[in-house]
Amino acid sequence: MPHSQHLHTNYANDSRREFLKTSGLGIGALGLGSVLNPNLFATNPAASKQPHFQPRAKHIIYLHMVGAPSQLDLFSHKPELVKRNGQKCPDHMFKGKQLAFIREHPLLLGTRFKFPQHGQGGLHLCEHLPKLGTVADELCLVQSIRTEHFNHAPAQLFQHTGFGRFGRPGIGSWVSYGLGTENKDLPSYVVMITGSVAGAGNSLWGSGFLPTMHQGVEFRSSGDPVLFLSNPKGIGRGDRRELVDGINFLNKQSLADVGDPEIATRIEQYELAFRMQASVPELMDTSRESKDTHAMYGTAAWQGEFCQ
């Protein structure tokens, strides 16, 4: 039996924080499991892969903030627009185009906020982001991405998959496909949702034409955090162990007889599923985090639902 050591690792003792550390879980609307240590067994296609360069990034945290303030009010300094505030929209931006909700000649609207400069690089940021300004030289703002899609769903699809239509892998799926995962106890790509769901829905973390193992697995905020995680009524942890033992005893008979390595993988997946039933609820349980931690993340009810 390959990887038997893996099967017997006891994850029940791992702390939540340890877990987060090893899983490299991003927090936010979309979190991408991170990367970068090719120490897993070769048969697992999700195992992390050695990229063709020496990577420096340790984590990717991707936040998709549905309903957030516009970039024009936060990060994107548009002095010319402010200068022309209240003027009629130039014809070339308007004439002959069908624009949602707009019937008459629209007016231009610049931000009402000041955009002071920060750091040695002189980064312009909205006056209401003074603390962010203190780390301005450590930030990289990409302001070159633009799209003609002005409907929510196609624009979100475009942002996440590069195409305004269905059928393409999301960026998280590409990362999972290209770099794999170090994490043995969670799916390679995990999605967390708080508040409203983006209009394009599940397609943002769909794997498109990539194998579905690279599809984002949704951690839900109500019900089971992962679908089908809880045992059915009348089945306890001991019963479940007995069932998994039974399934894997019989699967091992088949493996011995038939020799298909897929059976070995399935045996491992049942063990992983059993571990996830204990580890995921613990991972999702923030009740034992300290007051300071909660304050730092802003999880109080009045602070909105983002970090809940």
Binding site: Q98, L99, A100, F101, F150, N151, H152, A153, P154, R165, F166, G167, P187, S196, V197, G199, A200, G201, S203, G206, G208, P211, T212, M213, S222, G223, V226, L227, F228, L229, N231, P232, K233, G234, I235, D239, R240, E242, L243, V244, G246, I247, L250, N251, Q253, S254, D257, V258, G259, D260, P261, E262, I263, T265, R266, Q269, Y270, L272, A273, M276
Partner: protein, 912 residues
Amino acid sequence: MALLWTAMATESAETKLTDGHWAYQKPVRPALPRTDSDWPRNAIDFFVLHRLETNNLRPSPAASPEQLLRRVHLDLIGLPPSPAVVDAFLANPTDAAYETIVDDLLKSKRYGERWARPWLDLARYADSNGFQADQLRDSWAYRDWVINAFNSGMPFNQFVTEQIAGDMLPSATSAQRVATGFHRTPTCNVEAGVHPEENRVNQVIDRVNTTGTVFLGTTLECAQCHNHKYDPFSIEDYYSIFAFFNNTPLEVKQQGNGVTWNFYGPTMNLPISTEQQTKLKDLNTRKEAAVKRVSELKKAAKTEQLAWEKQTLRALKESPQWTVLAIEKFDATGNPEHELQKDGSILVTGKNPDKSTYTFHAKADLKRITAIRLEALTHPSMNKGGPGRNKAPVENPNFIVNEFQVETGSKMVKFASVKASFSQNHWAVAGSIDNDLKTGWAITPAFGKPAWAIYRLAEPLELKSEAKLKFTIIQNYGGGRTIGRPRLSAIDGNPNALDLPTDIAVILKKTKRTKKDDDTLAKHFLKESPKLKAEEQTITAIDKQIGAIKPASTLVMVEQDRARETHVMLRGQYLSPGDKINPGTPSILHPMKKTLPRNRLGFSKWLTDPTNPLIGRVTVNRWWAEFMGHGIVTTEEDFGTQAEPPTHPQLLDWLAVEFVERGWSMKHIHKLIVMSATYRQSSRVSTELLAKDATNKFYARAPRLRMSAEMVRDNALAISGLLSTKMHGPPIYPPQPSGIWRHVGRNAPKYIAATNEDRFRRGVYVVWRRGAPYVSFMNFDAPDRGACVVRRPRTNTPLQALTLLNDEAYIEMAIAFAGRILNEAKGTPEAKINYAYKTALGRAPRAAEAIYLKKLLLKRRTHFEKNPKEAALLISGAKGWKPPEGMDKGDLAAWFFIANILLNLDETITKS
């Protein structure tokens, strides 16, 4: 200079390569390789054996009869063999018996259902629009058409033509039009502010790309913005195919002038379903009967009318007068003030209690009473003059009489009927004599004028002189809705003419009537007949039900009368039109016959031209992959220059030629495959085979393949005995966790799990909402059907384990399976375990397996004997299945453990 030369050389080398690319040459039937072996059973095996031998491999031994039987069932119908079929075949596992089984399976209705699934992935068939709102749409008739086409053995060229251009065939049948649903499946955005033309262009792009993938195994989409980087297709080629599809109408429509857009596009009404037909027939029968009764009543009415006329005329002549009753005592609960008026009414004034019951004691000056009248009169002291009192903040002077009662000598007087001057909607005056305090008589909005109600007595009330009458008016609604000025009167004469309209009274009194008078009279009599009224209400109700039976509809392709002009779209942008382009086919492929029309129909005929080098190869390759795990060309979606070269080019060509020459018969190719020795090998993976050919590209063994998502569920349903084989119709809603369909947008549909047999029908019928497809299918690698999918991956994940272990649907199946074992297998636990294995895996258990499960069973049985509540809790997890009467719950719960384990086995969800 040197650089330039290299570039040129590369280019010419590439040109040469693509010109000669094998996939663009028409396949020619190759001769069978020679062999001395007696292993081959048909042509397939000669090619496979040849490759094995050149790679120093040998075929595996034949599969056991058990394995072969289960394999061929799963491959052809997607369901396991029943225990009876297993027994029959094991008793006689001959070639002839096998062939009979194959023929039966190919004839089974389940065959079309199983093979529709991969086709619907190609057709990106779903039941919703996709994008933000993702509303449901009806095109399930297309899914049923595919199932029927496969079952009926429709030749594949016809299958293609009808899907691409069924609507354009001469005198197209409705089935042929339904078939065009193939290209009405693309997603459609109806978000506010959508641009209909952009939407339409996207849909046409989807049609072109899907057509390229499905029928040509070509990545045409690469030529949408520029010439194909690898294959010989130019951007002009792309838009000349685009032109064939560029003539359908817009598919989103603005709602009025607003920002709301609706899914639109051509639909077609379907013939009504059998169920609807039965219902309609029943309704029509009932309507006919009612109509007949009406005409009989009308006939009988002629004589009845004469009697009524006499009676009414007499009543008119008697012309009874109302006698106002003299009130001797009046009481009102809540103690408002009151004063007797000169006209005999009581004016209630002062404080207005929330609720009030009025009691009147009156002397009857009449010897006989046939009817009583309650009047609610107006008075300037009331708001708007009344007739009801009102209490702030209630401004309207309404009243509500919950009950009106009359007593004499402590006996309640019975009423026959009641009529009122006016009754408020939902507050009919009949409510004042129904002994129900929740109902009553009210009069909004007839304010400022008197109201009356006439109560006819069931029998005339004979009174002695000095007899007393007691009247009670219960007004319990609250808000001070009471009568401000009540008055009571009575008559002693014939009450029949009391509510007669004046014009009718005039006619009745005439000595000579005109024809018009007769008609008016007859009409009035019929209108007032209670029996006729009832029948007419019945007919109205039936008509409403008949009207509600609407035919279902489906999405179809329709050609516009005037063709659109097609231009090359520069960089693939619809807003950047380039040169005008005519419909046409790529020059690298077979020419389009001059006789063919340059439209979709002509294009479909071009696709199925026997000289098309691609369609036969691409099609048989996909089928081969379904049976064998991967295609002869492993890149099933791409036969271009970047494709993997075929592992068995001659076999591929032989099958492609055979397919076309044998009438484009899918079943013929399927039978050839399952009858081959290649297919009938054992699937055992020896260490040697794993080392020499891990991916089994030479087929030295049969494949072991995890079932598709739908098959995993169908198989478990069949094993559990729950499977319903009901076919066709609107999509079904099996149980899934709540909160999956939580997506945004107007008209958001709700997911309500079926509680009837729809709960247990096959996966091909399960509703497919693109934004949130059936979750357990997603866990087993089902796509979202947003775009054409040729190959589903086969992953092996912990989520699959969790699904089979915990999904309510699978728990229910395991409980039902346990029930089935107890119900159908008799005797010792060993015998039952044996039966369970035969049902789930089509084989007997290995000794170690049987011993293990028996031990677990006995342990569990003891446990549940001691803990019956735990057993009951476990069994209650099956919401759609109930154990038969008398089945021991402890026993059932113990067998659940065995059933659950068997349904979770790798072998159970694997075709081996």
